[in-house]
Symmetry: C2
């Protein structure tokens, strides 16, 4: 067995989920607030495009980097939504945002290389680094900077042996964004040291208030990844993309050819409908609903006694300090599952530095169920 | 840039394909015999199942190892087609056979580990080894053993530093099988040395004459990978599976959770229809057609002067020695593309030891087009 496997942890929430399913099988009503995907189905125009592609026999391989027409459509998305000119040749369609992370780490990280990561952060990121025998340097960040890097935090934690910095804005689990000027400073700092920034923008679109700014506004030398999963509601289709700095394109293509052959063909044809006006209308309505849920849940959780030091501006997560109730957030999650039937994700899935202080609530269920969850937590005696 | 990238070569055929597409754009009629996928569309019952799943909203994530009902259906396939009892819990659904290779190499291969590979063989295999900084040991095999390992060849080439042996039966590019008793001997030899065999069975089903025997007949400690791509005609859907030795299951699940999240949901629901009697009937008819094409093409190519030392028994490939015509098979491929409009794959994509002596013909186009290709090659003066 390869040594790296020791460093790749399972998701802690899986144990809770298994217990929740057993409880459901016993007839208990469970409110799922652990789920990192929209509860909405894929928008109908996208589904229809997928079905039509299947009817038309679009079941063969596409080029390794994806259908040129989809790459062009994504380039159009940057033009229309960000006012950015991104050559379609730099856009690589991948099997999910996960495929993009795999390609970026495969071409950047080798044995012993350090990669700087925000803590709390998306757990798979440090495991991608481990997959290529790199060393994740998890930097504990605080509520003062919205759990995101700012320039002083990056300067303090930087090491000359680091080859990359991974960022996510909005972040999973915190839902916080990096301010545009700060994002520009971070990228400039990293690139001035000959390292690369890998910026996860998969929750773009799910931002409440001002629109998010892309890292592509600041540099052509950043790896920017995105996905059809979250905003576009295509989780199960497994389709994402990455904008690749030109000098790495050839390497990314060779790796993609060999390890993926190609992304899913039906998913790619379906995704061609993701940028239509009709789809946009559905997605914007969903964004409004997510914002409403957030606006209900953040004050309701605060009222219960959770400390939410930064109001999240994006994604569909709330990272809540539960130290008023417990010294061990995993055990807390187990307790409230058992007593109330509400499933949430323990902070241990997102933080190495402070794994027991926080929990993550996902508002990926409808408002009525969120109200039910809050009522149960209150009845359990949380406030 | 990570050093490994230097060792990951592009497919040589891509350059020919780009030229062929340019010629097509200029109005030339091109016969495609380079393509490693069936020309048939996905069987209608599978497509219909996929469309129905989409209509029913099956667009969310599944568990990381796949839908339990699909894993059970695959277990049923081993029971029905091989008479083997394979617990469904050992069956891991993956994003293509490629996903299975990625998981197997991720848990087995670390920096400096040697992996023994047949040469000629599927080019991605050595690149998966490189992806994890392992060292592929390409062992030149000859027509005497059907370009496959036998026990003496493995004994001669074995190194104690090797952690794995990768096999494929039927093989790409040769279409040859490993005889069942030899397969058993190879696996026993490898496992007695504490190493693992990774056996690629993705061309099972596409065997003409006797059915192939699975490596699972010989050992529960072998990684056996398969795919819905080739026999089942689902290339573009990107769905495969792997039967994992029990001691590695937990590691494989952790890696799969982190690097894939899950395989494609629509593809998995579609694949549930892959084992029905109706689908089987369509697939067996296609198998008959592939056999007919082989039976036409092998003697026709021999008649042109190609040396085909072993008549292939499976897959849809013919590995032909073109040394009667050229000392450089890549240049030969370029020449015949330019002069005849027939695209074939140069041996350099499959062999490190002898890259210039062979070419691969794929009979993934209908018999009329194969006849056209043979006529053009003859007119060009090959015989």
């Amino acid at each position: 067995m390869a040594d790296r496997v020791k460093h790749i942890a399972p998701f802690h929430v899986m144990a809770l989920l298994a217990r929740a399913r057993a409880m459901e099988a016993d007839g208990r009503d469970i409110v799922h607030m652990e789920i990192g995907e929209p509860d909405f189905p894929t928008p109908e125009p996208i589904v229809r495009a997928g079905q039509q592609a299947l009817a038309g026999g679009a079941t063969h391989y596409t080029p390794a980097l994806g259908l040129p027409e989809l790459r062009r459509a994504i380039s159009g998305h940057y033009r229309d939504c960000y006012g950015l000119k991104v050559p379609w040749q730099r856009i690589v369609v991948t099997p999910g945002g996960s495929g993009a992370l795999l390609l970026a780490t495969a071409v950047l990280v080798q044995s012993g290389d350090e990669v700087i990561l925000p803590d709390p952060g998306y757990p798979c990121n440090r495991h991608f680094v481990r997959l290529f025998d790199g060393v994740p340097v998890n930097v504990a960040l605080t509520a003062q900077t919205g759990f995101q890097f700012d320039l002083p935090a990056l300067q303090r934690s930087w090491r000359d042996s680091a080859v990359a910095l991974m960022l996510a804005s909005p972040s999973n689990p915190t839902g916080t964004l990096i301010a545009p000027d700060v994002l520009g400073q971070l990228i400039e700092f990293v690139e001035a040291r000959g390292a690369r920034a890998i910026v996860d923008e998969i929750y773009h679109g799910l931002v409440y208030g001002a629109d998010a700014v892309s890292a592509l506004s600041f540099s052509d030398n950043t790896f920017v990844l995105n996905s059809f999963s979250k905003y576009f509601g295509m989780t199960g289709w497994r389709l994402g993309w990455m904008v690749v700095p030109e000098p790495y394109l050839d390497a990314v293509e060779r790796v993609a050819q060999n390890i993926f052959l190609a992304p899913s063909t039906p998913a790619q044809y379906a995704a061609l409908a993701a940028f239509s006006a009709q789809t946009r209308e559905i997605l914007e309505e969903r964004r409004r609903i997510f914002a409403e849920r957030r606006d209900f849940l953040v004050p309701a959780l605060r009222d219960l006694g959770f400390d939410i030091p930064v109001t999240p501006s994006g994604a569909f997560y709330i990272y809540a300090d539960c130290s008023k109730f417990t010294r061990d957030s995993f055990q807390f999650c187990e307790d409230i599952l058992e007593k109330t039937g509400v499933v949430i994700t323990p902070g241990a899935d997102f933080s190495v530095a402070d794994p027991k202080r926080y929990v993550r609530f996902a508002y990926t269920t409808d408002k009525q169920r969120l109200e039910e969850a809050v009522a149960r937590l209150r009845a359990y005696g949380l406030s």
